[in-house]
Amino acid sequence: MPRHDRPSAARRAVVILAVVLGCGPGTPKPTTLLVGHHRVVLTPPRGWEHLDHGREQLFREREAELEISLADLGPATQRGLELEIDAARAMWLSGHRKDAYERVRQLHGPTLAFAPDGARARFWSQWNEVAYLGDRADSATVARGFQSLLDGTRDLAPDSLEQMAAYVLQTTEDQPGREIAREERRTIHGATWIVVDTWSAVSHMDRRRIACVDDGGYLLALRMKRGAVERAGLVFEGLLQSVVAEPDTTRTL
């Protein structure tokens, strides 16, 4: 081949990068997904399978050796807790008492997980009486229980992105024996994410990555569930850069 017909190294690099990042011909279009409480626009990785599990969206390489999850991990902050308690109260007011109790029972997230024992005990103290009475609790008692939970959220420590990342790591399987290799904040489409790399504490191998953001009080987390950064890193970054959390107009407080 004559020399002048060859694409330059720089041009070839741009083409390769464009293909890897999914900008080449036949690029998948941005898709809007509901991930639990979040309305998210993202560009799924090309050639990967997408499984919609509601609160968790899985992106899986065909051979299933690499897997990335985008999940709603529940209330991220005091505001998220208040929204959840408010939603449970609305359920109770509409006559779904048991569903409302269950929603309260399932309250979780970094705010509660990292609260001091005393603050957590105060948060639950009055509601425990309501739960103990069950169907025998009168409306006034239940209403006071909900109000005590809402008041209790103010007693809990304010949340930080680092705390949220610690919670995401805690809820991600296979974390024992791992340590944080790198942690950084990144602004993507106006939202501040925290991106954390972990690795094996013994060998510093098997590097994996998570990223999370507080989206209107709820925790949106992107996690490498299968595969290490060396293999799934580019796809993870492409996905992360494409995620735009749109405002959910149904949320009120």
Binding site: E179, A181, T198, A201, V202, H204
Partner: protein, 262 residues
């Protein structure tokens, strides 16, 4: 394009010649035991593996295509776990909030090991700690909290008083041919006390006779803040320089360094 037949050969020779001087990787800090250790790992052709066996926890770098040549840096987990200071201090802090069963259980878990002691000094310290904990249990059951506290503090003082030395751990960590599968393959060579990474160290230069060729087998042992570490090299003379460069990069940072174990 025409490639001269000997060009790949020249490239290979140059590559092989440069490997010993190839830069080490950026320094990494490992938290295998309470005392962290930092060092610059060898270049990428030394494939990394985690190592968790024989009481040691660490990382091994195996030279790709090197016929068993490797560099290993590891900490002795068992020796670090013999330190009773933290567990007794926590017991003192929590004693008022524990029920009777919990307290007795925590006391039993705080006891020092009396088997396979590193030295007579350690065995004596272990006996003193356990005698004080026995007294704490007895006073607890007799309902005398003041005496319980005094006994626990006595156990803590005994735990603080003992600190393993290089001499204590040498017998446990040093190569002993009689413990190896084929003792005749090992030759004990020069042994010396030295200072490396700012701490006293023991170094042994031994030989391993393999079917193909004899290999150098070098060991360096440190004791830093009650934690024992060992660096081992098994390989040819050509690659010994890489081992020396890795050892020269070893540092023992302050405890509570940046990376977080979980």
């Amino acid at each position: 394009m025409r490639v001269h037949p000997w060009r790949p050969l020249v490239a290979l020779v140059l590559l092989a010649g440069c490997s010993a001087d190839e830069p080490l990787l950026p320094s990494e800090t490992f938290h295998w035991v309470p005392q962290p250790i930092a060092f610059a790992p060898p270049p990428p052709q030394w494939r990394r593996e985690g190592d968790n066996g024989g009481g040691m926890l660490g990382v091994r770098f195996v030279l790709t295509g090197g016929g068993g040549q490797c560099i290993e840096i590891a900490a002795h987990r068992g020796i670090a776990e013999r330190d009773r200071r933290d567990v007794i201090a926590k017991l003192i802090a929590r004693r008022d909030s524990l029920g009777q069963n919990e307290f007795l259980r925590e006391v039993s878990l705080a006891r020092a090991r009396t088997d396979a002691n590193l030295s007579e000094r350690e065995a004596e310290a272990a006996r003193t700690i356990n005698a004080a904990l026995d007294r704490a249990t007895s006073e607890y059951l007799q309902g005398r909290p003041g005496y319980v506290e005094a006994a626990l503090y006595e156990a803590l003082a005994a735990a603080h008083a003992y600190q393993p030395t290089l001499d204590d751990v040498r017998w446990t960590l040093r190569l002993r041919p009689e413990q190896m599968q084929e003792p005749d393959r090992w030759r004990i060579g020069r042994e010396r006390d030295t200072t490396l990474a700012g701490y006293p160290a023991f170094a042994g230069d031994d030989t391993l006779i393999t079917d193909e060729r004899p290999l150098l087998y070098h060991e360096i042992i440190w004791v830093v803040n009650r934690c024992a570490f060992k660096a081992t090299y098994q390989g040819t003379k050509d690659n010994l320089k890489t081992f020396h460069r890795v050892v020269a990069s070893v540092r023992f940072p302050e405890q509570g360094d940046s990376a977080q174990a979980r």
